[in-house]
């Protein structure tokens, strides 16, 4: 009898020992991995993630990323997160394919993996949250330029790096709808590598190579600021309109100087918020990421997944002289 009793006690004790940490570890740890630290856009996304964490109550956000925009840096960060046994990883990737093996390893260890903003190949994540749908953005960037060119004209693209996943998709989608904008001709595509000096130089080169250039479309926040500065320095304000995707706080000067008539961006705060909500749903509430699934993301509604397990958050929003002052202090 006493042996059985002893056994029972020790089982109970063991249960208690295993049980207690489980109760103490109620805090759900969601890692928000960004392309690189110190980029305003991602800082704002972190703000949104913190907002979602506050709303959910038991979530701790680990905001992290490499200090430069490389896939190698992100792999190191993810390895560290796997070692810390976080509950979920939400990543904006620097490379579509390079991160797949390490993210697979994370998923094998029971970590929920989603990508947002800049995606990972489908086999490396459970779902991907697009800030907006790619066709909408592709159409938006050319529309922004065309709206100010009623008689048509020459436009050029200033992108980030040649391998940037999202910029390449947007430019592809843009080319697909070029038929809707007769008279608008894309004369060149150059790459500023998301470096201020190289983007500036490339923009200057564009204005030299194409003296009749009417607009520079830069679907990247570093490029658009550098291009606007290059236009101001070349004395071509009013002749060359810089547009594309940028942040209100960084573009306020360009709108003021007239180098940019208008530009668009989705709200990064909403994006970080939605990514956190989705990671939480998948990791804690048993939501299943499958084609056609509808996953709730708090105040942003629901995300409907397509056949690649991708979904779009919202339409991009246009900023110009009329509303820039309201937004420039927000993000």
């Amino acid at each position: 009898m006493s042996v059985i009793k002893k056994l029972a006690t020790s089982v109970a004790l063991a249960g208690a020992m295993f049980g207690t940490p489980a109760f103490a570890q109620e805090e759900v740890r969601i890692a928000l991995v960004v392309k690189a630290l110190g980029i305003g856009f991602f800082e704002a996304a972190n703000e949104g993630a913190q907002e979602a964490a506050a709303e959910l109550g038991n979530v701790e956000i680990i905001y992290t990323g490499p200090t430069d925009t490389t896939a190698e840096g992100q792999i190191e960060v993810i390895n560290a997160l796997i070692a810390q046994q976080v509950d979920a990883i939400a990543i904006s990737s620097n490379d579509t394919d390079a991160l797949v093996p390490v993210l697979n390893r994370a998923m094998q260890r029971g970590i929920t993996v989603i990508s947002w903003d800049s995606g990972v190949a489908p086999e490396g994540r459970q779902l991907h949250l697009n800030p907006s749908s790619n066709p909408l953005i592709g159409n938006m960037i050319i529309k922004l330029a065309a709206d100010h060119l009623p008689d048509g004209g020459e436009v050029a693209l200033l992108s980030a790096t040649t391998t940037s996943t999202n910029q390449n998709i947007w430019m592809e989608e843009m080319n697909a709808v070029m038929g809707d904008y007769p008279g608008i001709e894309v004369v060149a595509t150059v790459y500023g590598d998301d470096l201020a000096d190289k983007s500036y130089r490339e923009a200057t080169g564009l204005m030299q190579s194409y003296p009749d250039l009417d607009a520079i479309i830069a679907p990247t926040s570093v490029g658009i600021v550098a291009a606007a500065q290059a236009v101001v320095d070349a004395g071509k304000v009013g002749q060359v309109n810089v547009t594309g995707l940028g942040l209100p706080s960084e573009m306020a000067g360009a709108i003021e100087s007239g180098a940019s008539q208008s530009f668009a961006i989705w709200n990064p705060i909403d994006l970080g918020y939605s990514a956190t909500m989705l990671a939480y749903e998948l990791s804690q509430n048993g939501a299943e990421a499958a084609p056609g699934a509808e996953i709730p993301m708090g105040r942003m509604g629901t995300l409907t997944l397509d056949e690649n397990n991708e979904g779009a958050m919202a339409d991009p929003f246009v900023y110009d002289a009329s509303n820039i002052d309201d937004f420039k202090s927000i993000f």
Partner: protein
């Protein structure tokens, strides 16, 4: 021995000229005086940094922290400007040079007093400086509309047909031309790199000379930090990311021996101009961006291979003549 240096510079100068002519054959506007002035202006930061790096490399050290130093002083200058828009620009420049010099001195002290290899020291401080930018800025950008007009206007102000940025580079070249050839400091830099043991016997403190080389390089990086941020009208953690390698490349292309002791102001300037022409020419000649990287990379390799070869031949000649005299 002195005969070989002008030859090397002449070759580099003509290669650059041939490059400019080749580019002009595809895009005539490139050789317009106004455009060449733009190219020079765009290359000015690289020239200034290359001269600082030259001094360091001549003493058998290397400074990998210049770009991070530039970014940190640039960010500090921008933040000071935002906090105190009325502060005169000369004061900001003085602060930038001083800050850069202090960061250089940190490198110098670690190399001099703790005898840590310079590549390790500057690799460490490079990362630390970038980290500090993140800490002081909280990861946020300083944008053009936050900076004062005088702050962003200074490097662009045109003086005798050239922007101030270009004049700063020209002044730096002149000052270094004199310092390296006519002063005790300049000569001791060559002595320390050429033969440290002999330098000690002539009464030169090797460590102290290396320390001052780092201070000079740091101060120039600080000066460039302000100019860079004002020119591109934006300051953030990543500005001039990877630029330190371009600075080293400019020196190596300019014939400054990575083993120390051999090199000239003219070489460093020509090396920087060569890279500047390549960088500015590629966007206007309509070469696929996928090829641009390969082309600038090959240009560096060819130039370095050439310099390495001419360096070797020279060594042999010295040994032979030394044997012959015995």
């Amino acid at each position: 021995m002195m005969r070989f240096i002008p030859v090397r510079e002449a070759i580099l100068g003509s290669v650059t000229l041939i490059l400019i002519i080749l580019v002009a054959s595809r895009f005539a506007g490139f050789v317009a005086p106004s455009n060449l002035a733009n190219v020079f202006n765009d290359t000015a930061p690289l020239i200034i940094l290359a001269l600082g790096q030259m001094v360091v490399i001549l003493t058998r050290c290397i400074d990998l922290s210049v770009a991070a130093n530039l970014a940190l002083t640039g960010m500090a200058a921008a933040m000071i400007n935002v906090a105190m828009p009325g502060l005169p620009i000369p004061v900001i420049i003085a602060i930038a040079v001083l800050m850069g010099g202090i960061m250089g001195a940190i490198n110098g002290v670690l190399v001099w007093k703790l005898s840590i290899p310079p590549i390790v020291v500057t690799l460490g401080t490079m990362t630390i400086f970038r980290g500090i930018i993140f800490l002081i800025s909280d990861g946020k950008w300083v944008n053009s509309h936050e900076m004062s007009a005088a702050f962003t206007g200074f490097p662009r102000a045109v003086l005798l047909g050239l922007p101030v940025l270009s004049w700063v580079a020209i002044m730096t070249v002149i000052v270094f031309g004199i310092v390296m050839s006519r002063t005790q400091f300049g000569r001791s830099i060559f002595a320390v790199g050429g033969n440290p043991h002999a330098a000690v016997y002539t009464g030169i403190n090797v460590g102290k000379t290396q320390f001052w080389a780092f201070v000079v390089s740091g101060a120039l990086a600080g000066l460039t930090g302000y100019l860079w941020v004002a020119r591109y009208a934006v300051a953030y953690v990543d500005i001039a990311g990877g630029f330190e390698l371009e600075v080293v490349a400019a020196c190596v292309i300019g014939g400054i021996s990575i083993a120390g002791g051999i090199g000239s102001v003219g070489g460093a300037v020509l090396g920087a101009i060569f890279l500047g022409v390549v960088k500015n020419a590629l966007p206007v000649v309509n070469i696929s961006p996928f090829w641009q990287l390969a082309i600038s990379g090959s240009a560096i390799l060819i130039a370095v291979a050439f310099n390495a070869r001419s360096g070797r031949t020279k060594g042999r000649i010295i040994l032979k003549s030394a044997e012959a005299t015995q």
